[in-house]
Symmetry: C2
Subunit: 249 residues, 2 copies
């Protein structure tokens, strides 16, 4: 029903928006191997987004295609968490954000493999392997930079500090999510948060980085309220598709 | 010897530079499916570039790694054909350039599978399957746009006209190439040109596009002479790696 559609769209937009950000790193990473890893991570996320968006178009009765949902919705209709839309910043900030996101997605998709919704369970079964790799990869970079030179440690700490406040939103609940949890569609966020805390704390300890202590926790993404950054991202992402309305691509 | 190193570096730089350009399309294509295709094409090219660059470091006796060759060389040391460095332009220009490049790479890599150089033969055996797909994909887009709306036909024709003069350089010969051909390392460019002509002509006929008649044929890429565009591309590509000299990434 509408709750499953709304929840599925959140997962889809998380993947779609972060894939755009990773695309900005295409061929600009510190090593060619890293360019390959970033492109592969982006491809994994686009694959998740496509399946989820197509499912939303079925569930909500509109029959919208993946492309209509990706390219013809306005900013207020996107329900990704704000952490996904933050600018890439430098490489340290990129891997810090990826650590926080992947440390959430690993327990999320592991739990979703048992979802009562067959599409979510199927997407999760494939995604859980992908996001485990993303987490290992991001964690190894955070440690390498944090336990590297003074300059690399300073940068990755600054990146972590910048993205950290936005992580809280990943574990928020609201009426839609509460009903999805009750129906066995989605996992309860509280245990996910515990797993996230222990994963992130272990990586930060290895990396000799400080866990930020801020209590500022911006929110609103799940209701379509976004930072100023999403509008620019969507303008770039949607420009080609919208400049030829009705074109059969 | 030095000739094989020089020839291998040309192939490596062709792949590396075009991969950067394709990366600029990450998540900006007209459909999500197309974003996935462009990212996969970029990954194929990066894979080719890595193997070829590592081989250059062995052959030339400098022991340079793939990353040192990619990130620490200056513009005059890049020997890609200029067609690879041209800006992406709009989507029509991107697929037009890809058609011209892939129509060259298909017979090139098919012939290189018989190279007397084992690395080139091995790279070609894998690459020939990849570039066949790139060619089919680019051709289908050129036809779709050329035989589409008046506006899409106008744009892809303009893109084709813009990149066309640079294709001639792909079939040039010089002393290095002549010696590589004589040694069975590289294929003679003349038969490649014939294959290219018939492939491209067939696609343009299907697409109802005009074959440009210009005789202007800019050159110099194989000697390190480039358009003004390569410097900007390298600045972006090399920035992160160079901003931390000596960092163990």
């Amino acid at each position: 029903g509408p709750d499953v559609a709304a929840y599925t769209l959140r997962l889809a937009d998380d993947a779609l928006v972060l894939a755009q950000r990773l695309g900005e790193w295409a061929a600009r990473g510190p090593t060619i191997e890293e360019d390959v890893a970033l492109l592969n991570t982006g491809l994994d996320l686009l694959g998740q987004a496509r399946t989820l968006l197509a499912r939303v178009g079925e569930l909500d009765g509109t029959g919208r295609t993946e492309d209509e949902l990706a390219f013809l919705r306005d900013e207020r209709d996107f329900v990704n968490a704000q952490v996904m839309e933050l600018p890439v910043g430098d490489f340290g900030q990129t891997v810090a954000r990826q650590l926080l996101v992947s440390a959430y997605q690993v327990p999320l998709f592991a739990a979703l493999t048992a979802s009562t919704d067959p599409t979510l369970a199927a997407v999760a079964a494939k995604a859980v392997k992908e996001v485990r790799y993303h987490l290992d990869h991001a964690a190894s970079w955070v440690v390498r930079l944090g336990d590297g030179t003074e300059e690399s440690a300073r940068r990755v700490q600054a990146g972590l500090d910048a993205v950290w406040p936005y992580a809280a939103e990943l574990f928020e609940t609201d009426d839609v999510l509460a009903r999805c949890v009750a129906a066995g569609v989605a996992p309860d966020p509280a245990p996910l948060r515990e797993r996230w805390d222990s994963t992130v704390d272990a990586v930060l300890a290895d990396a000799r980085l400080r866990r930020p202590t801020t209590t500022w926790a911006p929110t609103g993404g799940r209701r379509g309220v976004h930072t100023e950054h999403l509008g620019y991202l969507l303008a770039e992402m949607q420009h080609v598709a919208r400049s030829h309305p009705g074109a059969t691509w």
